[in-house]
Symmetry: C2
């Protein structure tokens, strides 16, 4: 590839990724609604799959999201009774967020609702091929993330 071809390929790649993201997110949103939106589901899922308690800041970082956005998501989840938020005794700036029983159930309903989408994909797409591209995407994501921190001045 010439540099010009590489450059063009890279923009095509990001364009495809953008469209896939939009199509997949809107499909997820449809099956999760009206109980949860994809961001809310993501947070509940995080409590099950990654760690069962966290802080708003830590969650914001995990989801590559700003703190105010996470504040808003957590407020909605708390209103629905899906997470519990308490102040930390050790560091009184911090809050400790954890999933509730109702939250676990909502997350399970979400998983069940999304399962057919995975099945459709497994039926219509070469899943092995998708698995193969995953490491490259992960490397790209890590690179962009590191790049961003470098540019933003090591936040």
């Amino acid at each position: 590839m010439t540099p010009a071809e590489s450059s063009s390929m890279i923009f095509t790649l990001f364009n495809e990724i953008g469209i896939i993201n939009q199509l997949s997110t809107s499909r997820f949103a449809k099956v999760l609604a009206p109980d949860l939106n994809p961001s809310e589901f993501g947070v509940l899922n995080h409590f099950i799959r990654v760690r069962d308690r966290s802080s708003p800041s830590r969650l914001a970082k995990a989801f590559q999201m700003t703190k105010p956005s996470m504040t808003a998501i957590l407020a909605k989840l708390e209103r629905k009774g899906y997470v519990e938020i308490v102040g930390s005794a050790e560091d009184r700036r911090k809050k400790i967020v954890s999933i509730t029983k109702n939250g676990r159930e909502a997350r399970q309903r979400g998983v069940d609702a999304m399962a057919p989408l995975a099945e459709i994909l497994m039926a219509g797409q070469d899943v092995e091929a998708l698995a193969k591209i995953l490491p490259t995407l992960q490397a790209l994501r890590e690179f962009l993330d590191a790049e961003r921190n470098a540019v933003d001045g090591l936040s």
Copy 2:
């Protein structure tokens, strides 16, 4: 892979794609600002690379976007003098949108501003690997798009 593993892999994949999209879009936005946002640039770029005149509906479809969103983007581009919008004589429901000289220049400034991003990627990532995953992503995008049309009732 077991079905459960496939399912989990698929969600991981969409998650990575979502994060990449967010990181790359915000990088693009930074270098394009304050003249254009990525959507506006995309439309101008479309006039250069795909077709030099189009209609709001057609553009909305090309960008997988709703008509009202495209109306808003075109209104901003018209205010900036980057596109011209005239009514069609043949079909008076339709409008014909085309890029202006100023629009071409703005698009070129955008291309120039984004070029360093491509270079950073070429320096830090295996571009051949990125090129290799592109066909799989395109197949996935086409499948999701076809799926969506099927679900929405062949709109």
